[in-house]
C-alpha cells in the first residue's frame, strides 16, 4: 500500500533575534490510507510544529513532506482540525463545512458540493443542526463540525492537534469513538483517510491509534514507534491495553 504522507529528514529551526531553537531534526515516517497514527512527546517537543508543517502553515528548513494524493486533480493532501474548533463564528455549521469547497482552488460543482456537505452532516450526526451557528453548539458538536469541514475537501490525511483536550472526559470518549467510526465509514465509502493525531494522553493514543510515534525532546527525532494491534472498539481495562499504555507512558517519560 502506498503511503498518503511521506516525511523525510524533516528539520525545523526557529530563529528569534540571535536565538536559534532547533525543534525538529531528521524526522522521517510514513502514514498509510485508513491508518490512525498518533504522535506523542513531551510538551514543546515540536508535535504541533510538525502538524503545521504538514498542513503548509510553517515553512520547512530541510527535508521533505510529500502527499501523493495532493497531485491528483487538485485534491487536498492534508486538512487540519485545530485544538479548539476554529470554526468561523459568522458561518452556519453547513457553511463552515462547505468553506473549503467554495474556494477557487476547488473544482467541485455546486450539486456535488451540496451532496457532500449533506453526507458529512449525516456522518458527524449534525444534520438537524446544519443552520445553527457555532455559538449555539456544544464543544463536542463544534469539534465534529470541524472534522466534517476537514473531510469536505476529501484529504488523504487529516491532521488533528489535540482536538479533544478542551472537552470533558465523557465528550472526549464519545468523540474518540466517533473518530474511528468516521475513519471506517470514509474507508467503506472509498475515500480512505489517514488520521495523524497529536495527543498528550497515552490512554487516548492507545485507544485510537494503529501506530504511535513517540518523539524525543528538542530537537525532536523519533524516539520510538509502537504498533497497537488491538481490535476496535478497545477497552481501556484490557490487560493488553494497559500494558501498551504503560509502555507508551514509559517511552514519553523516559
Amino acid at each position: 500500500m502506498d503511503p498518503v504522507l511521506t516525511v523525510r529528514d524533516l528539520a525545523k529551526t526557529f530563529v528569534e533575534g540571535e536565538q536559534e531553537c532547533s525543534v525538529l531534526q531528521g524526522l522521517s515516517f510514513d502514514a498509510f490510507p485508513g491508518e490512525i497514527l498518533c504522535i506523542m512527546g513531551t510538551s514543546g517537543c515540536g508535535k504541533s510544529t510538525l502538524l503545521r508543517m504538514i498542513a503548509g502553515l510553517e515553512t520547512i528548513d530541510s527535508g521533505s513532506i510529500s502527499m501523493p494524493g495532493q497531485q491528483e486533480g487538485g485534491k487536498a493532501g492534508a486538512a487540519m482540525v485545530f485544538q479548539d474548533d476554529a470554526l468561523f463564528p459568522w458561518l452556519s455549521v453547513c457553511d463552515n463545512i462547505s468553506y473549503g469547497l467554495k474556494l477557487g482552488n476547488q473544482d467541485v460543482p455546486g450539486d456535488v458540493a451540496s451532496k457532500r456537505v449533506a453526507d458529512l452532516l449525516e456522518l458527524v450526526r449534525l444534520t438537524p443542526f446544519s443552520t445553527y451557528y457555532p455559538y449555539q453548539l456544544s464543544g463536542g458538536m463544534k469539534q465534529r463540525a470541524a472534522v466534517a469541514r476537514a473531510l469536505a475537501v476529501q484529504p488523504g490525511i487529516i491532521l488533528m492537534d489535540e482536538p479533544f483536550s478542551a472537552l470533558d472526559p465523557f465528550t472526549r470518549r464519545e468523540l474518540q469513538d466517533e473518530i474511528t467510526r468516521i475513519r471506517d465509514t470514509a474507508s467503506a465509502d472509498g475515500h480512505p483517510v489517514a488520521i495523524l493525531l497529536v495527543t498528550h494522553n497515552p490512554e487516548e493514543a492507545v485507544y485510537l491509534a494503529d501506530r504511535i510515534i513517540v518523539l524525543s525532546d528538542r530537537p525532536a527525532a523519533i524516539h520510538g514507534v509502537i504498533d497497537v494491534r488491538l481490535p476496535h472498539p478497545r477497552s481501556i481495562s484490557d490487560r493488553e491495553f494497559l500494558v501498551i499504555r504503560e509502555k507508551v507512558t514509559g517511552l514519553v517519560k523516559r
Binding site: R52, A55, G56, L57, A76, A78, A79, M80, F82, D84, A86, F88, P89, W90, L91, Y99, G100, K102, L103, G104, N105, Y133, P134, Y135, Q136, R149, V153
Partner: protein, 261 residues
C-alpha cells in the same frame, strides 16, 4: 422570549423616564428663570417642532434644514467609509504598510476636524464641499482605527484554516478577515456617524453657509430665538437616536453570531 420582551420594555421605560425627568427639570427651570433669551419654555420649542414644513425665521423650514444637514452627513460619512475601510484592511493586513503610515495617522488623528476649516475654505471655497471635507475628516479616523483594530483582532486560527485550505490572499481577506473584523468595523461606523453629526453642525455654524441645522441654530442665536435653537437640538438628537437605533438593529441582524443575546 417573554422574558426578553419584558427586559426590553423595562429598559425602554428606564430610558424614557430619564428623558422625562430632564424635560421636567428644563420646564421648571424655564418657569423660574422666566426669560426666553436664556431658557425657552418647552411649549415654545414644541411649537417650532410641530410645524416642520413652515419657514423658520423667514428662511428654510426645519425639515429642509434637517434634510440639508442629513445629505451632508451621509455624503461625508460614506466618502470616509469608502476610503477608511479599504485602507484599514490594507494597514491591518500588511505590517509594511502599517510601518509607513502609522506615525502619519497618529499625528493627524488628534487634530479636531473643525481645525481643518481654514484649509477646507482655502482649498474648496465656502459651502458644501468644505463641509463635506470637515465631516470626512471627522468620520474617517474612527472608521480607519476600528478597521485596523478589527483586522488585528481576527484570530490567527481562522486565517490558518483559510491558509490550510489554500485560499489565496484575496480569498483570505474576503472570507475571513472582513467578516471576522466586521463587528469592530461596525462599531467604528457607529462612532463615526455620531462624530459626523457633530461636525456638520459645527461646520454649518461657520460663515459662508446658508442652510442646515447648524446654520439655523447660529442664525436663531443671532436673532435671540432660543426656541428655534432648542428645536434644532431636538431634531439633531432625534436623528442621532434614530441612527444609533439603526446601527444597533444592524448589529443584532448581522452579528447575532457573536452570541451575546
Amino acid at each position: 422570549m417573554v422574558r426578553n420582551n419584558k427586559q426590553t420594555i423595562s429598559n425602554m421605560a428606564k430610558g424614557l423616564a430619564v428623558i422625562l425627568l430632564f424635560l421636567v427639570i428644563w420646564e421648571i427651570a424655564a418657569i423660574i428663570i422666566n426669560n426666553n433669551y436664556i431658557l425657552p419654555r418647552l411649549g415654545d420649542i414644541l411649537l417650532v417642532l410641530v410645524h416642520p414644513l413652515a419657514s423658520v425665521l423667514g428662511g428654510a423650514s426645519l425639515a429642509q434644514n434637517a434634510a440639508v444637514s442629513l445629505r451632508e452627513v451621509l455624503t461625508g460619512f460614506f466618502c470616509a467609509v469608502a476610503i477608511a475601510v479599504p485602507l484599514g484592511l490594507l494597514i491591518g493586513t500588511s505590517k509594511e504598510v502599517d510601518s509607513y503610515l502609522n506615525a502619519f495617522i497618529q499625528m493627524i488623528r488628534p487634530v479636531p476636524p473643525i481645525a481643518w476649516m481654514p484649509f477646507a475654505i482655502a482649498w474648496f471655497g465656502l459651502g458644501f464641499t468644505s463641509i463635506i471635507f470637515i465631516i470626512f475628516m471627522g468620520a474617517f479616523f474612527p472608521v480607519l482605527i476600528n478597521t485596523i483594530d478589527g483586522v488585528h483582532g481576527v484570530r490567527t486560527q481562522w486565517t490558518d484554516v483559510a491558509r490550510m485550505f489554500r485560499a489565496t490572499s484575496l480569498e483570505r481577506v474576503r472570507t475571513v478577515v472582513v467578516p471576522g473584523a466586521m463587528p469592530v468595523i461596525w462599531t467604528g461606523l457607529r462612532v463615526a456617524f455620531a462624530v459626523a453629526w457633530m461636525c456638520v453642525v459645527a461646520a454649518e455654524m461657520l460663515p459662508g453657509t446658508s442652510a442646515g441645522l447648524g446654520f439655523m441654530i447660529m442664525y436663531a442665536y443671532n436673532l435671540g430665538q432660543l426656541q428655534v435653537i432648542g428645536a434644532g437640538m431636538v431634531i439633531i438628537g432625534i436623528i442621532g437616536l434614530g441612527a444609533d437605533l439603526l446601527f444597533r438593529a444592524g448589529q443584532a441582524r448581522f452579528f447575532h453570531w457573536q452570541g451575546r443575546g
